[in-house]
Symmetry: C3
Subunit: 109 residues, 3 copies
């Protein structure tokens, strides 16, 4: 048995939990950081048999992969012509960090 600790971005949490659950994996979601750093991350715990580790990792990586998205500018900016304009902005979203730990003993009650 292995314990997978995955740190994913909040925006991907719903999708990755849904995909893992559809595959009958039991996922535990630790509450979001809320901290001043790396806010917007969620930590997931998934306990699986050794043979399933790679499958879980593939699901997480494909669902959460780091990518660029076009977001509207946060606030309108004054253009050279004196007219307020809103520029779309390219932002990096997603990404995941995954640690696989060995489980020495596993118990259910």
């Amino acid at each position: 048995m292995k314990l997978i600790v995955a740190i994913v971005h909040d925006e991907d949490t719903h999708n990755v939990m849904e995909k893992l659950t559809d595959q009958e994996y039991r996922v535990t979601k630790l509450a979001s950081t809320g901290g001043f750093l790396r806010a917007g991350n969620t930590t997931l715990l998934v306990g699986v048999e050794k043979e399933k580790v790679q499958d879980v990792i593939e699901t997480i990586k494909s669902t959460c992969k780091s990518r660029k998205e076009i977001a509207p500018a946060a606030a309108p900016m004054m253009g050279a012509s004196g007219v307020f304009m809103s520029y779309p902005v390219e932002v990096q979203v997603g990404g995941a960090t995954i640690f696989v730990l060995n489980v020495e003993q596993f118990e259910k009650a």
Copy 2:
């Protein structure tokens, strides 16, 4: 030294923390999931010497064991007679999932 990661149901959290603390174990409670799946779970961390692992596991299992309870129906239902009736419902509560991890180094400050 071992690190025990236990996922228990919210309803058992108070009791199991009290029992472990009474036995002088230090328990850290990670905030509840709050997620859309498996809401109502709490993750506990307990660091203990190898010789104490089985004792902690026994305490968690006996306090959190999966069991059936009679709960009032969530909402009244219209009976055949046209009278609203509330049926008691048997629900599964409790349960725990426990992972024991090896600790390579342990430090206190």
Copy 3:
């Protein structure tokens, strides 16, 4: 790769995260316990190469070390003279518990 799980007091969380981040470590903050026991603790996850473990531990220990502080009494007390007086109180603050776990596999997406 190692995963460092550090339980620190809330009051030290900001400082220790700032110091670790200044040294380019990636720190994940799990939401505070909020529980009835050991409330006021925060759990931090730091994934690092084996060579960096001792450096991270030193930073955590030096920032979070257990110490005494003078705090104003929580409530004024009636003195012998019949005058309300507020006594400063020496309280124990800080402290950290650190577990180092081996990471069998590490992935980023």
